[in-house]
Every structure is written in C-alpha cells, then in structure tokens.
C-alpha cells in the first residue's frame, strides 16, 4: 500500500513536470504568435495583400454629347479585348473552334497565335459586346476578357473640330471634349479582386463609395443638320475654288447660339491619328485675318449712329480712283456720286474711306470696340483669338482709309459673324455660345448658358438701316450670288488681299460672305470665308456668296420644299422649283446617309441611364416629324394662308375666315415641326 501511494506520488510529480514543460512549449508558441500576428515582426501582413489582392479601376462611361435636337454626337461604346495563355485553356480545341465560329478566321489561325505556351497573347481587340456575350455562353475557361470604353462619334467628321476628341485614357484632348472634360469624364470605379496563387479570381467586390460614376451629358447649341449642310457646302466651295482652306459658321442672331461651325479640310475624330493639326483646328475661332469689305459695315454704322450721315447721304467717289498721301484707292467700278447705301451695295472702297474720314478716327475706333473687335468673344472654347485693333492713338494719317475697308485690322470669322448678329438682331452684341448645358456625373445641372448681352453696339434704328442696306447688297449689289427668290436675304461680300511676307499679295485673297435672313427679322446668320481661292474666282461674291446661298437654301429645304413654296408669287415659283429640285436630291442623299448612321450607331448605345433613354426616345419621336420654316403670311388672304399652311401640314386656328392676315404666330422664319398649331389674326375688312 505504501508502495502504491509512493508510486502515485511519483506519478503526480512526474506528470506535473510534463505539464510544466507542455506549458512552456505552449508559451513559446503563443509568444511566437504574438510576434507574428500582433507585432508583425517580419512585416508580412502586407505581403498577403500584395500577393493576393489586385485593385482594378473600372472606367466610367463618358457622358454623351448631344446637339440641340438631342442627336447624339459623341457616345461611348463598350468593347472587349480578349487574350489568354495557352496553358490556362482547359480545352484548347474547343476554344479555338468556338473563336473561329464567333469571331471568324480558322481555328488554326488562333492556335498559331500561341507561339509560347506559357506566355500571354492578345487574341483579338475591340470585340463588340454581342460577340463577347456569345463567347461567354460557351463557358470557355482560360480566356481573359478585358473591358474597355471607346469614344465614338456617330456623325464621323461632321462637327469634329467643335466636339474634339479624347485620348486612349478617355480624357478630352480637344474641342468641347476637352473644355467640358470634368463633366463628361465621370469618376473611375474601384474593384478589389482576390486572386489565388495562379492568378485566377476567387472573389471580387466594389468598396463603398468606389462605384464608377458615368460622366454627365453635354448639350450643345449645334444643329447637326445645319452643321452637315455647312460642312458639305464648305467642301463644295473648296472643291470648286481650290482655296487653302474654307471656314464657316451659322449662328442665331437673336440668342448668340452657334448652330454650325466648321472649317475644311476637316478630320474624323474616330481616327485622330489619320489627321494633321491643321485639319483639327477650328479656324473660325482660332484664325485671324484682315477681313476686307465685310468690315465696311462697322465704319458705316459709326456714321449712321452719330447721325452725321443717312443711308441716302451722297459721297463723291472720285470715279474709282482717289489719292490720299502716297496711296491711291481704287474701286472696281467708276462712279462719281454714290449714296451711303450704294457705297455698301457696290462695296466702294473710296466711299467707305471717305465716310470714315467724315466720321473721324475716334468715333470709328469706338464703334469698332463696341462691336467687340480686339477682344475675344468668350465662346468658351480653347484657342480663341482676340484679333488686333491698333489703338486710335497709333493710327497713321491713312489708317482710317485702310480700316474702313477692313485692312490694317485683324479679326476672326467668329468676331465678324457676331458683329453681323448685332446688326441683324437690332444692335445687341451677344456672347456666342456652343454649350447650352452640362450635367455632372451625379446627373445634376453643372453648367448652363443662356443668352448673354455683352453690350449694345448700335441703336435699333441703325440696325434697321443696315439691314435694309445689306438686303440691297444681295438684291442689286455685289451679293446677288446669294439671292434666293422668295426670301429676303441680306449680306456683304469681302475680298481682302492677304498679307504675305509683309506685303499685300496680288493673287491671294481672303474671300468672304456674311449673310442673314429673313432680313426684316433675321433668324440665321451665316458667314463663310475661303482662304486664297484660285485667282479669278477670288472674289467674295464668286467664291463665298454662292456657298452661303446654298446653305440658306438647303436649310429652308429641310422642310417639305414644294409645299413650303406654294405661298411664293406664282411667277417666281417655276424657276425656284427648278432650282430646288436638284438641291432636294442632294439633301435627300445626305440626310439618308445621316439617317443610316444614326440608326446603326445610336442603337448600340447603352442606355443605362434613365435620362439617356428618354433622350434617345425623344430624339426618335422628333425624327418622325418634318421640320418646316414658318412662312410669312402677313398680307395674304385667309384662304391663301390656310391653303399654304395645310400644305405644310400645320394646324390652322383663326378668329375669322374672311379677310387678310395681320398677325401670325409663330413668326415667319421660325423653325417648327409639322402638325404644330398656327394662330392667325385676320383683319376685319375684306
């Protein structure tokens, strides 16, 4: 018994010793764990993240750029790049045959891509979402799909210089793409991906507040149809007159909205690398030149404004040759006495110089500055030039004569057109703008621009006088090539010698025409300048005026032409219709091509945003409507007016059914959709 208890005693002591050592062992393990897990002595905690966690940025979709009728000018297409390592393919045969089925090429072609079985190869780039969906249905293991977003411009080269383009990283690099990049670009998203040792994705998630935000949309004042017409006419003028370049713009003189703006040769923003910088430049805002006779309205308006002269004031034009100091001014026509109106109509240099002389340097200079010359217009695009106006204190003794005919001064076409807008709209210099509104990625209004009056340049009366004078230019002066029967077109030609190596060239001219219509209440101003057209065709009246005429004619023709012209006097109609038919055909062909592009491209746009969807729908519903220009019905009998409006497919509302029209709504020249309501006020007496 004693032995037993002694045994037991020994057992307890010895097991106790074992327990103690086990305890020590455990303490050592836990001490090590403290070092590893809490103190991280080998700083390995980050190694786990480094080897298994990949952060992936998710590109947002860039916002849309839309024209005033919600046509999509710039969109983002989702494309996929696929690639693989041969060793990752579970069933290479199946993969290759599926690839060839879906993407074309033989399966042998795909097999040959993998020269090294361990290396990663790109299989094909820029695959459409549909094709990728098809591929994904086959459950091919080992293929790596990489999503990317490509900027796409459905209208190709049209409006390319205004819209601009983006780089590989979807950052706007030119045009409104660049200026409004912060609204368009959106916010990159972040995805955390957990990978296994072979690089395969185990799981992935998007952290809070790291979701991608698609860019906001940008709404332009541009009208893509007008833009198309303008660019087409610039090209035609270019092909006909062989200038170095052609530029032009269309603006709404009542608001300052730019409806079209372009220079030619142009470029396709879908293929930026295939163009050179001179094609990408928006010359209308970035080129300054001596404007020539189109500038004559400025000194004239100074004279009219100060009441020194009236449109009928007579000036001695020296039979076409006038010496001042060492220079001799020439006119193309030899007249002795011309009225102020005739001086503009015939574009007399001597007359303009004399008017400027009568008015005085100070007054002329002041008017020039009032029209905004020498200052940028503030259109809000990059590279806008200010032009150069010599301060009046530095004017030489003959400066007034040079400036009066648009020399010794530089301006951009944009500045010239805005000056004509002021002439057209009753005297207000407006700030031109091309972006109506921009939305933030959160879909809130981030920027908007409305009509901005910079200052009154001239009085309403002067404006009215000038409009009449400029209408005369087109009906019987240098601008007859811009005449359109049935519409009151006003405008001014300009043929300015270019300064080449410090001297006025005798063969290179800047050939311009700026016109607006209808002249009594203008709705559109269009200016076109050709840089150095072929000598002989270098006159503004020959090279530029017909182009402006064509632009106006075709804009009028966006309506159903034959019906629209029913209200024109019968004797003019036959000729008009003759003239129009050809235009309609051209129009039809160009618009069918626009339609085609719209249909093929816009359908691909992902319309994940509510507002985008509605935009597209709205656009589609607009497409079904024919646009017409409201005719001038004042003075017509009610039955005549009703006939015209019914032909145009407009709804007629009136107070009376006999008598003459004294008031109409909408006003003549307004662009309206067919089937809209028209309200006519008919006078009491028949």
């Amino acid at each position: 018994m004693a032995k037993k208890s002694k045994n037991n005693e020994q057992y307890i002591i010895r097991t106790g010793t074992v327990c103690f050592f086990l305890f020590v062992f455990a303490i050592v393990v836990i001490y090590k764990l403290v070092n590893i897990q809490i103190l991280d002595i080998n700083s390995l905690a980050n190694a786990a993240t480094a080897q298994s966690i990949r952060k992936k940025t998710i590109q947002p979709e860039r916002g849309l750029i839309l024209d005033r009728n919600n046509n999509i000018l710039a969109t983002s297409l989702i494309k996929w790049d696929i690639g693989a390592r041969y060793i990752d393919l579970n069933d290479p045969e199946k993969v290759f045959s599926t690839l060839s089925k879906v993407l074309g090429n033989t399966s042998n072609y795909y097999e040959k891509i993998f020269k090294n079985k361990e290396k990663y190869y790109k299989i094909k780039n820029n695959i459409s979402v549909e094709k990728v969906d098809q591929l994904k249905k086959h459950n091919l293991t080992g293929l790596n799909y990489k999503r990317k977003i490509i900027r796409h411009y459905p209208f190709q080269e049209i409006a390319g210089q205004v819209i601009g383009f983006t780089n590989w990283n979807n950052d706007g690099k030119a045009g409104v793409e660049n200026v409004f990049n912060k609204y368009l670009s959106g916010k990159e998203g972040l995805q955390i991906i957990k990978k296994d040792v072979k690089g395969k994705t185990v799981s992935s998630y998007i952290p809070k507040n790291a979701e991608k935000k698609d860019g906001g949309d940008l709404f332009l004042t541009l009208d893509i149809d007008y833009q198309t017409i303008l660019e087409n006419e610039l090209k035609k003028a270019y092909d006909k007159n062989h200038p170095l370049s052609a530029m032009g713009m269309i603006a709404n003189p009542n608001t300052g909205e730019i409806l079209a703006i372009a220079s030619y040769p142009n470029f396709n923003p879908n293929n930026v690398s295939g163009s050179n910088p001179s094609q990408r430049r928006n010359r209308v805002i970035s080129d300054q030149f001596e404007p020539g006779s189109i500038f004559k309205v400025i000194p004239i308006s100074a004279a009219l404004e100060s009441d020194n002269l009236t449109p009928s004031s007579m000036i001695n034009c020296e039979n076409g040759e006038w010496e001042i100091y060492d220079r001799t001014l020439h006119d193309t026509h030899e007249n002795e006495w011309l009225s102020l109106k005739e001086i503009i109509t015939l574009s007399s240099n001597i007359g303009a110089a004399k008017i400027a002389k009568i008015e005085g340097n100070e007054s002329v200079y002041e008017t020039i500055k009032k029209f905004g010359f020498g200052d940028p217009c503030g259109i809000g695009l990059n590279a806008e030039v200010a032009g150069y106006v010599k301060p009046v204190s530095q004017w030489s003794k003959i400066a007034y004569s040079q400036i009066a005919m648009g020399h010794d001064i530089t301006a951009s076409l944009l500045q010239m057109v805005m000056a004509y807008c002021a002439v057209a709209n009753g005297g207000l210099l407006l700030r031109p703008y091309i972006v109506k509104s921009a939305y933030t990625p959160e879909n809130e209004l981030g920027y908007s621009h409305d009509v901005t009056v910079i200052r009154r340049a001239i009085s309403k009366k002067t404006s009215k006088d000038l409009r009449e004078i400029l209408e005369n230019v087109v009906t019987e002066g240098t601008g007859t090539n811009a005449f359109i029967l049935g519409y009151k077109i006003a405008g001014k030609t300009g043929t300015a010698q270019k300064v080449i190596e410090g001297k006025y060239s005798r063969t290179k001219y800047m050939s311009s025409f700026i016109g607006f219509f209808p002249s009594n209440k203008p709705v559109l101003v269009c200016g076109i300048t050709l840089d150095s057209p072929t000598y002989g065709r270098h006159f503004g009246s020959i090279a530029a005026a017909p182009a402006v005429k064509n632009v106006f004619t075709r804009i009028i023709n966006t309506t159903d032409f034959e019906n629209l012209y029913d209200w024109i006097k019968p004797e003019n109609k036959t000729e008009l219709l003759e003239n129009k038919k050809t235009n309609v055909e051209i129009n039809n062909s160009i618009f069918t091509s626009i339609e085609k592009r719209k249909n093929t491209d816009t359908n691909k746009i992902s319309t994940n945003k509510r507002n985008k969807k509605s935009i597209v729908e709205q656009r589609k519903s607009n497409d079904n409507k024919v646009r017409v220009i409201m005719p001038d019905l004042i003075g017509h009998s009610y039955s005549q007016a009703k006939y015209i409006l019914t032909k145009l497919n407009l709804q007629v509302h009136t107070n009376k059914i006999t008598g003459r029209i004294i008031k109409q709504k909408p006003q003549a020249g307004n662009m309206i959709y067919s089937n809209s309501d028209c309200y006519l006020t008919v006078s009491g007496d028949n």
Partner: protein, 373 residues
Amino acid sequence: MKTDNKNPLVIKIFIITLILLIGLGIVMQYSASNKIALEKTGKSYYFLLLHLKHLLMGILICITFLFIDYKQIKKTVILLFGITFLIIIVPIIKKVTTNSSSPARWFSIGSSSIQTSEVARLFLIIFLANYITKHNSKITDFKKGFLPAFAIIIIFIILIALQPDFSSAFIIYFICMVTLYVGGAKFSHIMSVSSLMGVLGFIYVRIEPYRWKRVLTFLDPSDTKNSGYQIHQSLISLSNGGIFGQGIGNSMGKNLFLPEANTDFIFSIIGEELGFIGSTLFIALFFILFFSMHKIAKHVKNQFGQLIIFSTALSIIIYALFNAAVCSGIGPVTGLPMPFVSYSGSQILINGLLLGIVFNIYLQERKSIKWEK
C-alpha cells in the same frame, strides 16, 4: 468523503471540449480545403465529406471500444505486436522489393489504407502502459526493466524512420519516452539512450539531402521562393490574420498560396481566419482537453488505465503543439497533423479508438474514484 456516482464536472468539460474541437475542425477543414478541393476535383466539399466520413468512422470505433473491457486488451498485447509489426513491415518490404521511391507510410487493404505510424503509436501506448504496470518494480532497472521496453519501442521507431517518416518517428519516440518517465523509469536512463538516439537522428537527417535542407531552411528561412516557400506562406497567413482574423472563409493562404493548407498547415489558416485570439483559444482548447484527461487519469486507481489515459492525452496535445510550432516557424517543416482538424483519417481513427478505451476506463473505474473537491 463524499462519493458521487453522477458524472463529475471534469468529464463534462472533457466531452464539451472534444465536441468543440471536432466542430471547429469541421468548419476549418471546409474553409481550408474548399479551394484545393475545387481545384483538384471540381467539388469544393470533397475534402469536407471525406473528413466527415473519417469522423464518423472515428466515432464508431470509439463507441465500439467504449464497450470493450479495457482489461481484456492487456491480454492481446502480443497479438497486437504481431499485427502492428506486420502492418508496418509489409509496405517497407514492398518498397524495397519493388525499388519504389515513394514512402512506405501506408498499409492498404483493398481501397482503404491506414498510416502505419499511427498504428505503431496505438500499439506503443498500449504496450508501454501494460509493460510498466506489469514490471512496475523493475522499471528503474536499466537492463531488466528499461532496456526491453526500449528495444520494443526502437524497433518501431527505426521502421517508421525507414519508411521514411522522420517526424512521426521523432514524435512517437518522444511520446514513448515521456510515458516511460511518467511510468517511473529513471530520467538518467532516458537521457542516456536519447542522447545516443539524438546522434543517430542527426546522422539520419544529415545524410538525406532533403531532410538536411529542411533543417537549413528552418535555420535560414530567407529563400522564400523555393525551400522556404511553405513556411514563408504560413507566416504570411498568420500575419494576415492579425489580432481578430479575416473571418471564417476569408483566408488568403487557402487560395493555393499555402500548400497543405488543410493538413500540415491548417493551424495557419485557423490563425488567419480567427486571428491571434482564435489561434490562442484554439491552443487553449487542447490544454483544457489535456488537463481534463489528466485529471481523470490522476483519479484512476488502475495504473494501466491511468497510463493509457495520460499517454493518449499527451499524444493529442503533443501533435497539436508540434503542428502549431511548425506553422509559426518554431520548428522545421514536418508533416504532422493537427488532431481532429487536419485532413487525416488514420489519426482520427486511432485517436477515436484511444478515446474509446479512455471512456471505457472511465466508465469502469468511476465507481472506485473518489473525486476530491
């Protein structure tokens, strides 16, 4: 003195801890193995199902031995010796005759197989308990008491080392020596033979390049790409766990970064998903299990039963601590499983069997046990 026929608190703690460990083992086994299973078989639950099958078999064998009188086992020691010897020698002979290069660690009948070192562990625990009980007075005698027992032990240790499975040989030798020490053998005897064994063991390790490399890697684990890769990944996983862990299922290491994540390195996954708190509590669970068994053993009057309970408890906690030590870089990389958690059918089976015997001992002896307060 108060006698209490009802089950005392200690047995409840013992069983609850055991259930906790098995339950945690199921969860961690699935968490650690799903990715490997998916990669190897296409089914993420492949290893989980096998693990559950092993546990079921372990429980069945445990219940079976619960009903077998442990004293009867004494009589079968010679038979057991023969069976164990056969089981362990057959694969080795097979290996030698076929000149195979793969280790001869498994004895298979039909499609099922068992790790022979586990069978040797079972036999040696029973054998030592029986030998010490029988030759109680002679155990302090080197020639008559200690040496014969050591001879039997050394036969199996050498056979296991020849498989080759050095880590199992080492840990089983260690368990045997501690059992002899607890059973009354002289410390000086144990130390003298063990130093000899140490020299032999060193030679054994030194002559085989891969074993030596493991030791060198342990001493200088800077080559994290090749030889030090496993331990480096194990430490990364543990570090990644931090104090509170990444949460169950969120281990990085199990995504094939850490090899053997569901067997030899499962402790690293536990540490990564449950953090320092989890890994420490996990070790604590094994200590609770050990001390509850130790307390039961202390009160068992029958020395044979007492020794079996103690060496069973010892072998469980030693495996657990060695596994944790290897995972945390304290020892060189070995292939020792974490009891109840690692994917190792043989160990679950043998531990189940041993625990069955332990329960039987407890059930038979509890009437005579006087539980002290």
